[in-house]
Amino acid sequence: MIQSFPEPVVALEGSTPPTSAGGRFRRGSGGWAGYLFISPSLFGVIAFLVIPVILVIVVSFFHWNLLGHPTFAGLSNYTQMFAHYHAVTSLYVTAYYVVLTIPVLLCASVLLALFLNRPLPAMGFFRVIFVLPYMAAPVAMGIVWTWIFDPRLGAVNELLHQVGLSGPTWLSSRALAMPVIALVSIWSSVGYNTLFFLAGLQAIPHELYESGMLDGASRLQLLRKVTLPLLRPTVLFVSITNVIGSFQVFDTVYVMTQGGPGTSTQVINIQIYDVAFQDFQLGLGSAMAMVLFVIILVFTILQFLYFRKRITYELA
């Protein structure tokens, strides 16, 4: 969902001066304490992140249905995945979801942030209201929106009926199911992302606006030449973290359509779940998880490279 807490910007860490602390500390200061302090989390990281990643790579080369012994499968899980399991379809479907979600989400959040940044009364109130859906369990909200888009009794078709239109069947329609799911995702994360843009807007130095105005720039010009360019790092940060989150969408789709109708909302995560935990083909499921992993890795590396570049750019 948010499941989308922003992935922190990993790249910046690369620039940490390696133990500048080392020199200033007496030698050995905090040595044993350091190991003691990190030991619980180190156990957690190894047991629940490092070992699982190694395991998922290994299992992806085996056939295993949990009953017998795993048998070595070579690359056949990977070839089978692309040949039989609509893996390509589910990649397209996920990409379609990302394309539907991200641009609207970005535009809406930037606009809202621009509105909320005005020094007017009640802006704090609106900011709080817009963040409310961020707390909502995607599972619960998925069910609620299924009710809202219910073709016969739902709130949306009821409103359409009032103005004399007969609404479509929404989630049982191949064409409309995915847009509805995208809408729900946008609904739940707009306010959350708006806060990042608000922080970005408030970090822009006022002097830039003042000097721009002295030069006779109009408000539209200020927006185009000052605000938006300086907001670009935030735009990139928000879009990459949201793309990474969107590739992992599961909860909303699980309760709203279970991947249907047909394969129209069969996103990668739904397919991994079906293959691994409904059909118990764990090798195949692991292979699919690896594909997802690679996709997400690509975006993380993009993020990494971008912020590397940004540092050098700003220092130049």
Partner: protein
């Protein structure tokens, strides 16, 4: 800031400015400045336009607020209606014969009372353990020096990129091997020892606390544990609140792992119980809305109480890069 390696983020608003003390300087709207600097005649001419602009701005925000809030209203309206009224009336109508019967049914027959307790217990345990373990690790990475510190930190950072869905299959295998499936341990253990993301976030904060405080306390003979407990923690309420909020929300709403790890109703969590309700009751909207309401309500209350801290915390996660 003189170091050539300074991060960009620290050039922006320092994370504790405004965010922590709630004294964020209000950005002055460019339009307003413009109005102030303009000659009086021009200012007067601009006024009606500005007023219309402000009114339409509030109009847009009000519509937005309605779109955000109406699903919550529909939940309450639907859950309070008997099923025949749901069929016969518009979902927008107030219930004519409001009833709590559906809530009672979900609470008792569908065991949501117990499921709610499960969820509270699991969330509290995960949050307490995770925040404690993450604080220790973050402090060690920020302020203690020990051999291999940088290398270990890189391992933590690297695991942060691993998506949830990738670890779910192997985690299932590990828990199965340890005979921990269908236990509370399976629900709690993967999250109890601290997550790299929270550790990273807290470490960034600890690094903003002046090193001299730590050194002075050491001179006076404080142990590392006492330095952390008596000097660092009292200064870190903002980041601990942030971490707590993030962990509470993500473990309350977590779905995929509980769905896989537990299949006995006795140890179900709200999200999984709600999905089960959906597969049992299909389109019995009164039941589903009552279940959704019970799932959402605790966090809505949590939000109502901590709204200021929550808004601040989210901005903090964006600023502490």
């Amino acid at each position: 800031m003189s170091s050539p390696n300074t991060t960009t983020a620290s050039k922006r608003v320092p994370p504790d400015a405004g965010l922590v003390r709630g004294t964020r300087p209000v950005a002055i709207d460019p339009g307003e400045r413009e109005a102030r600097t303009r000659p009086p005649a021009a200012r007067q001419k601009g006024r009606p336009v500005r007023l219309a602009g402000i009114m339409s701005l509030y109009g847009i925000l009000a519509v937005g607020a309605f779109i955000v809030v109406f699903p919550y209203i529909l939940i309450l309206l639907t859950a309070a209606k008997p099923m025949n009224e749901i069929f016969s009336s518009s979902p927008w109508q107030l219930p004519q014969h409001p009833t709590f019967a559906t809530f009672r049914q979900v609470w008792i027959q569908d065991d949501f009372g117990r499921i709610l307790l499960n969820t509270v217990a699991v969330t509290v345990v995960i949050t307490a353990c995770q925040v404690a373990c993450s604080t220790l690790a973050a402090y060690a990475f920020a302020r203690l020096s020990f051999p291999g510190r940088e290398a270990l930190f890189w391992v933590y950072l690297a695991t942060m990129m691993v998506p949830n869905a990738v670890t779910v299959v192997p985690l299932y295998l590990v828990m199965r091997e340890l005979h921990l499936l269908n236990t509370y341990y399976a629900l709690v253990l993967p999250y109890a020892f601290g997550t790299p993301y929270i550790i990273f976030l807290m470490r960034q904060f600890f690094r903003t606390i002046p090193r001299e405080l730590h050194e002075a306390a050491k001179m006076d003979g404080c142990s590392e544990v006492r330095v952390l407990l008596q000097i660092i923690l009292p200064l870190s309420r903002a980041i601990i609140t942030t971490a707590t909020i993030i962990v509470v929300v993500s473990s309350w709403n977590n779905f995929l792992w509980p769905l896989i790890a537990v299949n006995s109703q006795a140890r179900e969590l709200l999200t999984v119980g709600l999905a089960a309700l959906q597969s049992n009751f299909g389109t019995q909207w009164d039941v589903l809305m009552a279940g959704s309401c019970l799932t959402l309500l605790p966090l809505v209350l949590f939000f109502a109480i901590f709204q200021r801290q929550i808004v601040r915390s989210i901005q903090m996660t964006g600023g502490l890069k």
